[in-house]
């Protein structure tokens, strides 16, 4: 049985595809510094670990090791009882309280999921439910972690309120508690 022509066909196709990729990369321009834009996220002051803050709600509902307390996730949540921001101070899982650096990293991580969309929603008082940080846990969009909140519960109200700039600290306090 002669197989030569088929093998040659595969190789030439692969070579052609590789060449096309190289050509596209060579023709691509690097981003200009003028392409930068500033993201207007929800109030970072409300994203704290103080009572009624929003950070503990994300820690509690999203930050376990098997979910977003994991470096394999694009959305990473650092917390006292989950993933720790690498440090030289011996701050390990289960140890010291969530650090200011970790709160800051959590905020940036949440904003960075969809920076343009977040910017649009916050600046234009847009629909919070257009954001993945709500669509996923509400299962409006497929979420490997399943349903994490339902519309109207404390967790959903806390995060939606934060995005809208109307945080209810009592609701967020309740949402951060284990049942």
């Amino acid at each position: 049985m002669k197989r030569g022509p088929f093998v040659f066909s595969i190789l030439s196709s692969a070579f052609g595809a590789f060449g096309a990729v190289c050509l596209v990369m060579a023709c691509s321009s690097s981003p200009s510094t003028s392409d930068k834009f500033t993201v207007s996220g929800p109030n970072p002051g409300d994203f704290s670990t103080t009572v009624g803050g929003v950070d503990p709600v994300f820690e509690r509902h999203c930050g376990s090791f098997d979910c977003h307390g994991n470096t394999a996730r694009a959305l990473r949540i650092y917390s006292q009882n989950g993933l720790r921001l690498p440090n030289e101070g011996g701050v390990l899982p289960g140890g010291a309280a969530t650090t200011p650096d970790e709160v800051s990293a959590n905020y940036r991580s949440i904003i960075a999921v969809e920076p343009e969309q977040m910017n649009s929603v916050v600046k234009s008082s847009g629909d919070p439910y257009s954001l993945l940080i709500l669509k996923k846990p509400l299962l409006i969009e497929t979420h490997k972690g399943g349903t994490v909140m339902i519309k109207g519960d404390d967790t959903e109200k806390c995060i939606t309120g934060w995005v809208k700039g109307t945080v209810d600290k009592n609701v967020c306090t309740a949402a951060a508690q284990l049942p």
Partner: protein, 189 residues
């Protein structure tokens, strides 16, 4: 020529489909291989591989798919040492309010089969024995193996992303290790 090429392509597609159907998953295969060989003198069964992530193998596509677990793990006595706790109760509550309890065996292993309880994650877990009680401070999002997050060895590689093994007491189990256990409940780690 055209017929020959099409036949060959069809063959390639069939081979790929067959491999996919066999569950070719290098990540999972790597996780299974990382568990290493069985400990000499510990037979395959309810007392083996204490402290390891049970459901890496005991799942639908794992090498122990004949015995699938929905939740499984090991409870140790204290924060230092790795002596399993016999007769600890693991209380679990799922997101729909369903509750289930399971006792550990003499090496500290416990395992729940889906036919017994098939939880809707996330779940909350509490462990107790006598007056000693410990509750997890976070829910378990979807991980059925305690040992995937709670590891027996913390090192430079995993120190920021893993929790130490689960323990129930401040030190040794006041009741002491199980006396009639068919295998040594002390992993010696």
């Amino acid at each position: 020529m055209s017929t020959l090429a099409n036949t060959s392509r069809f063959g390639v597609v069939l081979v790929i489909a067959a491999l996919a159907a066999c569950g070719l998953d290098p990540i999972h295969d790597g996780a299974v291989a990382a568990q290493g060989k069985e400990t000499t003198g510990v037979p395959i069964g309810p007392f083996h591989r204490a402290g390891q992530p049970c459901v890496v193998c005991h799942e639908d596509h794992g090498p122990a798919s004949n015995v699938v677990f929905s939740v499984a793990g090991t409870i140790f006595a204290g924060p230092t040492g790795t002596v399993g706790v016999d007769g600890a109760t693991v209380q679990m509550t799922d997101s729909k309010g369903s509750k289930f309890e399971k006792a550990t065996n003499c090496v500290g292993n416990f395992f729940v089969k889906p036919s017994e309880w098939d939880p809707a994650f996330p779940i909350l877990v509490r462990v107790s024995k006598g007056a000693a009680k410990r509750s997890m401070k976070t829910p378990i999002g979807r991980e059925p193996s305690c040992g995937n997050c709670h590891v027996t060895i913390i090192n430079d590689t995993n120190q920021f992303g893993s929790m130490a093994h689960i323990y129930l007491f401040a030190g040794d189990d006041p009741a002491g290790p199980a006396k009639d256990c068919p295998v040594n409940p002390d992993l010696g780690l």
